[in-house]
Amino acid sequence: MSVLVFVEHHGDELQKGSLGVLAKAATLGDDTVAALLVGGGVRALASEVGSYGAGRVYVLESDELEPPTPQPRVDAIAKLVQEHGFENVLFANSVLAADIAAALAARLDAGLNWDLTDITSDFVGKRPALQDSIVVDVGWRTTPRLALFRAGSFDAAATSNGEPHVEDVTVDFEEHSRAAKVVSQEQEQAGGPSIEDADIIVAGGRGLGAPENFTLAEELARALGGAVGATRAVVDAGWYPYAAQIGQTGKVVSPKLYVALGISGAIQHKVGMQSSNVIVAINKDPNAPIFEFSDLGVVGDVHEIVPKLTELVQQRKAS
């Protein structure tokens, strides 16, 4: 059961999602898990990748390949699969990884299952469907098996293994793989993440009481490093702009953390956020429907709880 994991990085930081998949890969069999790093200066990261579970790290070091273009990476992985016969190639979802995995599937005529939250040691994938209301078992009919896992499905696990075996990879790239070029990259720290990209969302509903009270949500979001969302009811009432509306007729989000303040949890809102990883709800009404699908339900007054919560979060982050 040979497994290759594509490991992403940004600058000199390895992506947590990739490391999580690496940890999972290590549980899937006895063979050494291999990893691939592509980019500028990535050889320096190989050792760290090893410490997270890779026994063998393939390195394609090239400054030209530092920007996240998918197609050259497809060439690299295809070569490794063909040369070393990897039966499984695993990815943690990201825009880049999704493009690579799909193109690789076409290149190798291989099956790709995506949006997986788990995989068994006999290679049955678990995939939520229908807005996460159901889990489907999916399989592969041929090898190599390509698997794309939902971000955050697994935690990274540092090991006490020794140094990995590091091997340089050289690739003859396809002509079309090198045609698209990244011309510039701009870093933007514009006022917090957008709702679509945010890992953390703090959303406010009518239970906030008045439009002014949206500052509670804003301050908590700032402390947590997240974005602010709103229910249809408060957007309708003019308390918050439509761009922040989450729900059936607004945005559908699935952040790692969703904090619902004064939101009853009507189904129109639920379908916009129910696949969030962790849901915390604060509401005065103990019978609010949102408590039926939140991980932590808090019955209480948002006006009392949230300022204290914001302060505690700030303290914790400072320390």
Partner: protein
């Protein structure tokens, strides 16, 4: 002094919806015949017209690229169609003659058996079906599904069906209806155009047929503009229904009377429920309540939830799953409330829009179909070379008058009104009328408009069950199951006075099955602001009956019924 919703009329004027064409002549969209509404009446009209064109191709040539177009405000034909439905097949047979038999249509089969019950809180007393309620020979359908099927037949017969298109204004020129102006798309809540604003267009035709169904927008405008309203005001029922997947199939159709509606004349709670099989694994259950009720806490939505808690009914639904919900009004003024005339220059009026419903039999679809069919024949006659359009269109009135539509409605002309006297007296009178086939009439009773009923409050809401999410549900969950995903950022299409006495506000809040209205801030003088969430609206039309006015929102908005 009693409070009446009619004392707070909506900011609405029919003349705002009548206009001359404004698009430059070469930009106006021209069709031969324009039908507004892809319901049974409108589609029957389109199908019949197509048959006539097939028999007389020379007429088709003169009608240009698009001999007949049907505009539909819903997402697609069927999206806004809701009924029981047990349909009398005679109109469908007349429409399709030798082309299709009833068996070829998407139905749930003929009615196999029926039962009528009078319910109390815990018991169900079976009574023999009163004559008007006998359904032998009738067929079970989902009107929404039938509408989809009819739309396909209409397109096959050459009609162009244009969904997501509202008829916003009646185009009138020199006293003659020349078409409609369609609604704008892409306006924001404040009325301003957004980035992808698409203005409506002038859609002109030689003959315009309004088949808009209950509370038809332009139908109401036309009745006012041409002075066609009858002396007797129209009145309505509100029907709310659900479709359930069930473990055990139902074999008979069931009607109930009595509980949970209250029988005292004081409350004027007229109505009953229906439970119809839909094949092997589905059934539909609905509640119909007259909108002349008086209690501000009456909520048809919640009375249906209450109904389901009856032991016999809960048993039917046990182990099942609610898969659809919807609501729609039914005009119930009957014969006397029909307009004085069903035509005007360039215009024909069909179906529920003008009140062609036989309330004691709970039937209206076959009248709608027949009226659509007759409208097609009149429109066709008007388009013959050498025809006098006015005479030809008047021929429509004559044809309806000579048809079973008129005969049936006349026979039951007083039946609805007597129920205003309470269930028991009303029931006795109604039976007497039926047995005598309408000869025992009690004189022309004038029904009061629903909005003029004096309001009272009697703690009605205390009997509604708390939603348990399995058998009983709240309004927002129901709206979700109607498929409603109306775009939020568009102008409010509901016209009401926003500051009204709390009783009127509560009336609307309870009445609306989609939770569009909510009580807002109190002013301290007994009045309250009414908050409106227009994107919940399923366009049932109840608000128009009870003191406000429904106008069509942006095309494609509203419910997306599939099997109601």
């Amino acid at each position: 002094m009693a409070v009446r919703a009619s004392d707070y009329p909506p900011p609405f004027a029919a003349c705002d919806y009548v206009a001359e064409p404004t698009d430059p002549v070469d930009e106006r969209i021209e069709v031969g015949v324009l039908v507004v509404g892809a319901g049974p009446a409108g589609l029957a009209c389109a199908i019949r017209f197509g048959q006539l064109l097939e028999e007389h191709p020379h007429v088709a040539e003169r009608l240009g690229d698009v001999p007949l177009a049907v505009v539909e405000k819903g997402k697609s034909p069927g999206s806004h169609l809701l009924s029981g439905a047990v349909i009398n097949p005679r109109s469908l047979r007349r429409l399709f003659r030798d082309r299709y038999r009833i068996e070829d249509l998407p139905s749930y089969g003929p009615v196999e058996g029926e039962a009528v019950y009078v319910l109390t809180r815990r018991n169900a007393l079976r009574i023999p079906a009163p004559p008007p309620m006998r359904n032998h020979g009738n067929w079970l359908f989902s009107l929404s599904l039938l509408g989809r099927w009819l739309a396909e037949r209409a397109e096959e017969s050459g009609a162009m069906v244009l969904p997501e298109t509202t008829a916003d204004k009646l185009l009138v020129s020199h006293g003659r209806v020349v078409g409609i102006r369609t609604g704008d798309k892409g306006r924001r809540r404040d009325g301003e155009p957004s980035g992808n604003f698409e203005p409506g267009a002038d859609l002109v035709a030689k003959v315009t047929v309004l088949a808009e169904g209950t509370q038809g927008h332009l139908t109401g405008v036309a009745l006012d503009h041409f002075g066609l309203r009858s002396d007797a005001p129209q009145v309505w029922e509100l029907g709310v229904k659900e479709v359930w997947r069930v473990a055990k199939p139902l074999r008979s159709i069931v009607h109930t009377m009595g509980w949970p509606l209250r029988t005292s004349a004081r409350y004027r709670e007229f109505g009953g429920s229906f439970i119809y099989p839909m094949g092997e694994d589905l059934l539909t259950i609905g509640m119909v309540v007259g909108l002349d009720y008086r209690d501000v806490e009456l909520s048809a939505h919640d009375v249906l939830q209450e109904l389901k808690t009856h032991p016999k009914i809960a048993k039917l639904l046990d182990g099942g799953e609610r898969i659809a919900w919807g609501a729609k009004t039914i005009p119930s003024g009957g014969y006397y409330s029909l307009p004085r005339r069903l035509h005007a220059p360039g215009l024909l009026l069909c179906g529920d829009g003008v009140g062609m419903v036989n309330v004691p039999r709970l039937k209206g679809i076959h009248y709608a179909i027949e009226s659509g069919r007759l409208a097609a024949e009149a429109a066709f006659a008007a388009l013959q070379p050498g025809a006098t359009p006015a005479t030809a269109l008047a021929g429509y009135d004559e044809a309806v008058d000579a048809s079973f539509i008129r005969d049936d409605l006349y026979e039951v002309r007083d039946m609805r009104q007597v129920f205003g006297r309470g269930f028991f007296i009303g029931g006795a009178l109604a039976s007497a009328m039926t047995v005598s086939k309408g000869r025992l009439a009690i004189g022309k009773l004038r029904a009061e408009p629903d909005a003029e009923q004096p309001l009272l409050r009697s703690n009605r809401a205390s009997s509604y069950p708390a939603p348990d999410g399995r058998l009983t549900f709240d309004k927002l969950s129901s709206v979700f199951l109607s498929g409603n995903k109306t775009r939020d950022d568009q102008p409010n299409h509901l016209r009401i006075q926003r500051t009204v006495p709390v009783e009127v506000a509560q009336l609307w809040v309870s009445m609306c099955p989609a939770r569009v209205y909510e009580l807002g801030a109190e002013a301290g003088d007994g009045t309250v602001t009414v908050e409106v969430a227009p994107s919940n609206c399923v366009q049932c039309g109840a608000i128009t009956a009870k003191g406000g006015r429904l106008t069509p929102p942006e095309g494609g908005s509203g419910p997306e019924y599939t099997n109601t």
